[in-house]
């Protein structure tokens, strides 16, 4: 690995701004997790320590991804997808259940969430598919990749994990738009989806789990039943709103410290941060995220080939989607779906996967600079 680093002038590509942004966001995450959970026990070790371990593993994944070659990785896209599909099937039967969803595989004391890794592998698969040959025509552009996405999507929705399922769709849509769909075709898709909406509504609404329906109801009318279904959304809004300009300071968040706000260290970590650091803190965090995405888009536009560009676009799309939907749901703009805030929320699989994806992104940049390709 070392000679590959030197050979490819790898260290030049190790963009210090990029890494600094990632570290800053990770730091904010650990701080918030520490703040929410410092009073409670998290099993073997406190949550923030465990998160630090995940970050360490994530850093390893980041370096591996960065040091490898994304062309090699893309070659293993299909087998990897097959493996992850098998894991998703395994999860359906043997998975660890938590809060009504069966998403985790138990690995000794830790659990592992294959749907997180499925996202990254899906990006690889789609990028590989589009860059291997010029995919022309309606069938090759839309239908075939759609069929590729479908099994993974269905398996994830079955768990149920609406959040990961939606990110699947988002990645697919972003890739499709990047590759380009004729405006006529786009029009057709839109028209069809509008026409099919009533039927789809029946099917979708009927197949939603009770809690998902209630979340949507609570989103439409957050005021109703503040103690029950709208509780989460309302408490999250109260937490964020009460932060005002400067926030209540570290450990000062009454909403999260008094456990009014559940899931303060995972999906709603943004609300905790907003409560304790106020609008200014939120602006800093948003700026960091925008900076990271901006740099990633830079990498995408300067990528050396289609594979690189598509990989970069897919990763950026996933990142954007997660950030926007997570923050959107905590501020009450979207219904609540279980999507963690990348690099900030507590969670082993998500942290490792996001850092690996970012490593891959940097790899795309490194290859652009390499002389010997």
């Amino acid at each position: 690995m070392i000679d590959r680093l030197t050979e490819h002038r790898g260290l030049d590509s190790f963009d210090i701004r990029y890494v600094a942004l990632i570290l800053a966001i990770l730091g904010i995450g650990v701080l918030s997790i520490y703040s929410v959970t410092h009073g409670q026990k998290g099993g073997v070790a406190p949550y923030y320590l465990k998160q630090l371990i995940w970050i360490g593993l994530g850093a390893a994944a980041f370096l591996v991804m960065w040091a490898s070659d994304y062309h090699d990785l893309a070659r293993f896209a299909y087998p990897a997808y097959a493996v992850i599909l098998l894991m998703l099937v395994f999860v359906l039967f043997e998975g660890r259940t938590s809060k009504g969803a069966q998403r985790w595989i138990a690995l000794g004391p830790f659990t592992f969430q294959p749907s997180e890794f499925a996202k990254l592998i899906l990006i690889l698969v789609l990028a590989h598919y589009y860059s291997k040959a010029p995919r022309v025509g309606w069938l090759q552009r839309v239908i075939v990749p759609g069929l590729l996405v479908l099994p993974g999507l269905l398996l994830i929705l079955k768990q149920p994990d609406l959040g990961s399922g939606l990110s699947f769709v988002a990645v697919y849509a972003a890739m499709l738009l990047m590759v380009g769909v004729r405006s006529k075709a786009l029009g057709f898709i839109l028209l069809f989806s509008i026409m099919l909406f009533p039927f789809a509504w029946e099917g979708v609404w009927g197949s939603l789990h009770d809690y998902q329906r209630q979340r949507i109801m609570a989103f439409v009318d957050p005021g109703y039943d503040p103690g029950g279904k709208g509780y989460h959304a309302l408490q999250s809004k109260i937490a964020i709103g009460s932060g005002e300009l400067l926030g209540k300071g570290l450990y000062g968040g009454t909403q999260s410290q008094l456990k009014f706000l559940p899931e303060g260290h995972t999906d709603f970590v943004f609300a905790v941060f907003a409560e304790e650091w106020g609008f200014l803190g939120v602006l800093v965090l948003l700026t960091l995220f925008v900076g990271l995405i901006w740099l990633s888009l830079e990498i995408a536009s300067k990528a050396k080939d289609q594979l690189g560009a598509l990989l970069a676009v897919g990763i950026v799309a996933m990142l954007c989607f997660c950030v926007v939907v997570n923050i959107g749901m905590t501020v009450g703009m979207f219904p609540i779906v279980g999507i963690p805030l990348p690099l900030v929320s507590y969670g082993g699989s998500a942290t490792i996967m996001t850092m690996a994806a970012l490593g891959l992104l940097l790899n795309v940049k490194r290859k652009r600079l390499s002389l010997f390709y």
Partner: protein, 536 residues
């Protein structure tokens, strides 16, 4: 890897598309920023108000635990309201002043209160300073509440056993759910701090007595005062429990034991109900249901007499020797033996092909009746049983035992030594079985079927095997058939007892047919007398 060239018009304008993506991203982030500005700056004070003055939270309403009564409806366990004092440190301005106030008002020990207040834990959550306060103290605190912010009186339901130590082992006690129990599936709807039965019937019938917790939506202000409470779901009280115990008899039994270590069990021979089950030394469940200090707990656990053990159900006492007393009486009355005649015990008795050992391998030597009872010599009673013969034995047991009728506690004492498992698998409790036999003979009325043709014992045996009585209450036809057979008035028991398994000579003896017509009727209903394997 070959680079694929997309037609210029389609993929070439990646940059244009990325530009659109960037604009879209900025728009969305701007939207989020606007929303956050709206929430935090424009409506910030409103939400701060909400978070500080109007916190809503869900409070669990603990259900009332079911009461326990004895067979005549005498209350054995109930719930009494108890007042606990909680302090939320976050709301306390001057800690020392509060401690002074509390100790002058209620006479609390200032050092103890200070210790509890400075103990580790969250400042934001209320902590218990004192429980089981008197009504007067609670009222005093309530009337001075405005001077003492952060102080709160909580009414909690406390398990109370009016009888104190009476039937302590039987009733058991309750306690806060432990971390291990929380993980078990039967406690899945409970939470930290729930009260569950930890011993005795409180534990074994916990599921029925527990009830269902309700929920209350409470709006509290920053000082922790409840502003408004809406009951979302009412708690459901647990079911009451009626025991077969007669508490008067239980008291008599416990008084009889006095300071001795031991146990007394009294059964109703007509139904098998346990009327009294006493074990000494005992404990006070009122003490154990409270929070114990570590010292108190160690004291109880390390007590010589092991007061927490229920000797009636957990003590290991082989039941076979009880029957030596009726055997001795029968032998004397039938003049098989005189009190002074002796039997030589060499540690075993040869019966058929098998040697039945005495509990003392070296034997007791020559023993007379007195010594045989004192040392509980097995061989002596094997011998006199063989000398008497089965007919004499059965004859005596029949009318003698039925006339004893457990009239006094003394006889209950004699007959009461048994392990709980033996009572539960009632069929194996031999002396009890014979009591039943005697009674069923006496009360027997000739039924229609027995007048027309009297089935032989083997026929009955077979019919019973086909249609075991314990399954017979199922279905109308089955019940009618069961009634016609005349067996419904007598209780018979499953033959899954330990004595029936296996094929050793002892088991074969237990399964043998009736040798004499006079026993046929008894055996037809309850089976032949059985020898019990002694457990050493």
């Amino acid at each position: 890897m070959a680079t694929v060239q997309y037609p210029e018009t389609e993929f070439g304008d990646l940059h244009r598309r990325l530009f659109i993506l960037r604009v879209g991203l900025l728009l969305v982030v701007a939207l989020l920023g606007l929303r956050l500005w709206h929430l935090q700056i424009r409506e910030g004070p409103y939400y701060r108000d909400l978070s500080e003055n109007n916190r809503t939270r869900l409070v669990l309403l603990e259900p009332a635990r079911g009461l326990i009564y004895d067979r005549h409806g005498v209350l054995l366990a109930n719930n009494v309201p108890s007042f606990s004092l909680y302090v939320t440190l976050e709301d306390v301005k001057d800690r020392e002043a509060l401690i002074q106030q509390l100790s002058s008002l209620l006479g609390f020990d200032p050092t103890l209160v200070r210790k509890k207040m400075t103990a580790r834990g969250s400042k934001l959550l209320p902590r218990k300073i004192k429980d089981r306060m008197t009504l007067r103290d609670a009222m005093l605190v309530e009337s001075n509440r405005l001077d003492m912010p952060g102080v709160m009186i909580q009414v909690e339901s406390q398990r109370n056993y009016p009888g104190g130590v009476t039937a302590a082992h039987l009733l058991g006690y309750v306690g806060e759910i432990s971390a291990d129990q929380l993980e078990k599936p039967e406690f899945v709807d409970l939470h930290q701090g729930s009260i569950v039965g930890q011993y005795g019937v409180e534990k074994s019938y916990d599921r029925h007595m527990r009830g269902m917790a309700g929920q209350k939506n409470v709006e509290v202000d920053a000082l922790g005062h409840e502003k408004k409470a809406v009951v979302v779901e009412r708690p459901q009280a647990g079911n009451d429990l009626y025991l077969t115990i007669d508490v008067r008899l239980q008291k008599v039994a416990e008084d009889l034991l006095g300071g001795e270590y031991g146990a007394i069990v009294a059964l109703d021979p007509n139904s098998g109900d346990i009327l009294a089950m006493a074990s000494r030394p005992g404990f006070n469940p009122n003490v154990l249901s409270r929070e114990l200090t570590a010292k108190q707990w160690v004291e109880i656990v390390q007590d010589e007499g092991r007061p927490l053990n229920n000797r009636a159900s957990q003590g290991q006492y082989p039941p076979g020797s009880i029957f030596k007393i009726p055997m001795a009486v029968a032998a004397l009355e039938s003049k098989t033996m005189s009190p002074s005649s002796t039997v030589f015990c060499n540690g075993g008795y040869q019966f058929g092909k098998r040697l039945y050992h005495d509990w003392k391998a070296s034997g007791h030597g020559y023993v007379d009746l007195h010594n045989a009872l004192v040392h509980s010599c097995d061989v002596y009673f094997y011998t006199i049983g063989q000398r008497m013969g089965i007919d004499v034995m059965a004859d005596h047991y029949r009318w003698r035992v039925s006339s004893v009728r457990l009239r006094t506690m003394a006889s209950a004492t004699v007959l009461g030594w048994c392990r709980r498992s033996w009572i539960e698998r009632r069929g194996t409790f031999k002396s009890y079985r014979l009591f039943r036999a005697g009674r069923s003979m006496r009360n027997r009325k000739p039924s229609a079927s027995s007048r027309t043709h009297s089935p032989t014992s083997s026929q009955r045996e077979r019919r019973r095997e086909r249609n075991p009585p314990w399954s017979r209450s199922v279905g109308k036809r089955g019940r009618r058939k069961w009634r016609r057979s005349g067996l419904d008035r007598k209780r018979t028991f499953p033959k899954n007892s330990e004595t029936m398994r296996g094929s050793s000579p002892l088991h074969r003896w237990n399964r043998r047919r009736s040798p004499s017509p006079c026993l046929r009727n008894i055996w037809g209903t309850v089976g032949p007398p059985r020898l019990l394997l002694r457990k050493k």
